[in-house]
């Protein structure tokens, strides 16, 4: 059955079919194919959460890096005056607000508060 595709007539027919628009019969075939792959090799159930968590973590790292950049001159200035300076970041999602406070002096302390929105 697949041997036929190599015959010259079939090559012409193939080119003709390839240049035509997709029709309902193609879509029907693609629907069957899609279902085969959906059932046979489904997206792992945890993948969406995993991706979203990785993005949140990445944002967090970028934010911490930004804070470090911005905070360094303040820390340097504060050191001589022994001034306590708190750095607070708030993260908000649909259901939860998390506040992280970093107190740099005298003992480094990280306080984290979470509350429902």
């Amino acid at each position: 059955m697949t041997d036929d595709t190599n015959r010259p007539g079939h090559i012409d027919e193939l080119d003709r079919l390839a240049a035509l628009p997709i029709d309902d019969a193609d879509l029907q075939a693609l629907d069957v194919l899609r279902e085969i792959y959906e059932v046979g090799d489904p997206v792992p159930p945890s993948l969406l959460d995993r991706v979203k968590f990785a993005i949140t973590l990445d944002d967090l790292e970028a934010e911490v890096a930004r804070l470090q950049r911005e905070a360094v001159p303040e820390f340097a200035a504060a050191r001589s005056e022994d001034l306590l300076k708190a750095q607070t970041v708030t993260f908000t999602s649909d259901t939860l607000t998390t506040m992280v406070t970093i107190s740099p002096q005298p003992d480094v302390r990280i306080t984290c508060r979470a509350s429902p929105v």
């Binding site: 059955m1 697949t2 036929d4 027919e13 069957v32 899609r34 792959y37 993948l47 995993r50 991706v51």
Partner: protein
């Protein structure tokens, strides 16, 4: 074209709208984009013979790449194509690394990575008469065609040309024509008395 003018009825259109909003500062729209396109990306990656666990890593890496390069994508409507190209490139890198770290495979074995891709779909295909017919013909196609059709099956018809182009298999610029892979499948199905058009 402003985001509100974009076609919203297709996957690429909906993705473009969400991504334009994300670029404009609405960070929460990224979650919508992730939900919308992760299935298509999963099947793009798995079609490149990436193992199951590694495919999860590749999909995650692809999304992080988007976060890091969001500003460099000028046309938000191109985000689906951008993600497909990126996930495919990342898949190749992973497959190549896996080959390098394994003992030399047999000359005849071009895979190098244990291919667990076919087992699941194959048994899923057996579940229906239609599935059995289509799977027999899909298996007779080249791997290139098989992977193209797998990804196309997860996109909407108007997006077919841009998806095929992103996969490196352009199908012509005027309208969503079949292209050779889908034409091959169609030829085989049309000649098969077991394939009924309902």
């Amino acid at each position: 074209m402003t985001p509100s003018d974009m076609p919203t009825e297709t996957l690429a259109g909906r993705a473009g709208t969400a991504f334009a909003a994300y670029q404009a500062g609405d960070r929460h729209r990224l979650a919508e984009l992730v939900e919308l396109l992760t299935p298509l990306l999963w099947h793009t990656v798995r079609a490149q013979r990436v193992g199951h666990d590694q495919a999860e890593d590749v999909v995650q890496t692809t999304w992080l790449r988007l976060v890091h390069h969001a500003d460099s994508i000028q046309d938000p409507r191109a985000v689906l194509a951008w993600l497909i190209v990126t996930s495919k490139r990342e898949s190749w890198r992973v497959v190549k690394d896996a080959r390098r770290s394994q003992p030399m495979p047999d000359a005849e074995d071009d895979a190098g990575v244990p291919d667990t891709t076919l087992e699941g779909p194959e048994s899923a295909a057996l579940a229906s008469a239609e599935g059995r017919v289509i799977w027999r013909h899909i298996e007779s196609l080249s791997e290139r065609c098989r992977s193209l059709l797998r990804v196309v099956a997860f996109s909407d018809r108007p997006d077919y040309a841009s998806v095929a182009q992103a996969l490196g298999m352009p199908v012509g610029s005027i309208g969503p024509t079949r292209g050779r892979c889908l034409a091959k499948l169609r030829l085989l199905l049309d000649a098969d008395p077991h394939w009924g058009i309902s």
